[in-house]
Every structure is written in structure tokens, then in C-alpha cells.
Amino acid sequence: MSSFTLLVTSAPCSEQNAYSAYRFALAAVQAKHTVNGIFFYQSGTLNGSSLQLTPSDEFDLYAAWKSLANDHKVPLMVCVSAASKRGIITTEDAQDSDNPHFSLTAPFESVGLGELAILMKNSDRLVQF
């Protein structure tokens, strides 16, 4: 069995890439491969927003990511610098900037790019979406 890191650099909702990454990750774990982690960078960090209110007749990708993390122990890592400039911030970021509101909660984690280096080191394949 093999191990994967997925790098998601595309926004949800506006593009299909993030959805494709989710489907790929699900297929990988279903085939008993290991997904070491999904790393969200650039507009991909928008996938981590807990404030997304998906209409009932549209696919809820945010919920799907959460299920993937909970059911298959796949870490969802959001690059802190790319995320915070796009308004995807944790409660700590919010406190630091005197903003009472935040948009990034578990199972998504706010991490530095070093975490991606660690994921990649231990993965047979890196696939970017």
C-alpha cells in the first residue's frame, strides 16, 4: 500500500479542483492507501472556512472534508500565512488581531509550511489539485 500527500491550491465552490481532490482522497483510503494529509494552500485555504452555508441542493464539500477527517483520520492542514490573508483565521489569530470572530475550526488545523515538508517526506506521491 502507498502513501499520498494532496496539495489543494484551488477554492471550493468556484472551481471543481477541490472537489476532485476530495474524491481522490476518498478513493485512496477506500483502496487501503494512506493519505498522510491534505494540505491547503493559496485559494485552497478557503476550503477551511467554517462559515460556509451551502444551499441544501448543492454538494456540501466542507461537510465532506470533515467526514473524511473523522472517518479516516486524514489530517486537514491549512497554511496559516495563505489562510489568514484570505480571512481564514483561528481563534488565536482572531485574538491577536482584536477580532472577536474566526472561521477556522477543527478538524482543520492551522499550520506552517514546514508541516507540508514533513508530509511530503513520508509520502510516495504528491498530487496537486
Binding site: L7, Q42, G112, L113, A117, M120, L126
Partner: protein
């Protein structure tokens, strides 16, 4: 076949119109800091990022091209630029802001062979 902890970053986007160039550079420097052996490839519109004579302050953008000459201090020594991409844009090597290694169009896949992972921006 491929050396572990090697990463190729392919830059194919023009600067400023989107954030790919800037965020690719951020990625390259961070990965190098975390012990990845990073090689940069500039192909297609990516070569436009390397022009010396840019003044992005006019559009309130960061002059991140000024960082390219400093990449050697980040242990990023391999900067490959596609010859045909320069030619089709009428760009001479002397117009670039950093020392680069020219490669032919078809050399890219060969040079990627020894890399463990590849990203593109």
C-alpha cells in the same frame, strides 16, 4: 531513481495578474528552510517573473522578483529557464534579474526525473 527530499517547483504563470508567482516563491523558500532540495523551473509565462525591469509598486504589488538573486543564500541554486519560452516572448537572458541555467523545451521531463515531488504554480 529520484532523490529523496528533492522538490521541483514549476512556474508557468505571469507575475501580478494572480498570486501564483509570489506564493510559489514563498513555498520555495519555506521548503528549502525545511531541508528540501528545491529546484525552480520557469517555463511559458513564468519566465516573465524574472524580468529585471519591473516596477510593481505602480499597482501596489510587491517587487518579489528582487528576491530571486538572493535565493542562493536559501540554498536554492538550480534555476532553470526554458529557452523557447524566452524566445517566443522576445526576451534575452541579459534582461533577467538572476543567473539561470537555460534548458531546451524538451529537457523539462528529463530534469524532473531525478526529483521526488513536483509542484506547479
Amino acid at each position: 531513481m529520484s532523490d529523496s527530499n528533492t522538490l521541483a517547483i514549476i512556474n508557468q504563470s505571469a507575475p501580478y495578474g494572480n498570486s501564483n508567482g509570489q506564493e510559489s516563491l514563498d513555498m520555495a523558500m519555506a521548503m528549502s528552510n525545511f531541508a528540501q532540495d528545491v529546484s525552480l523551473f520557469f517555463i511559458e509565462d513564468g519566465v516573465l517573473q524574472l524580468l529585471s525591469k519591473q516596477t510593481p509598486a505602480n499597482i501596489d504589488a510587491k517587487a518579489y522578483h528582487k528576491t530571486f538573486p538572493a535565493l542562493e543564500f536559501y540554498d536554492i541554486d538550480n534555476i532553470y529557464v526554458c529557452k523557447q519560452s524566452l524566445e517566443s516572448r522576445g526576451i534575452k537572458v541579459s534582461e533577467l534579474c538572476v543567473d539561470i541555467t537555460l534548458i531546451e523545451l524538451h529537457e523539462l521531463p528529463t530534469l524532473l526525473t531525478c526529483q521526488q515531488h513536483v509542484m506547479s504554480f
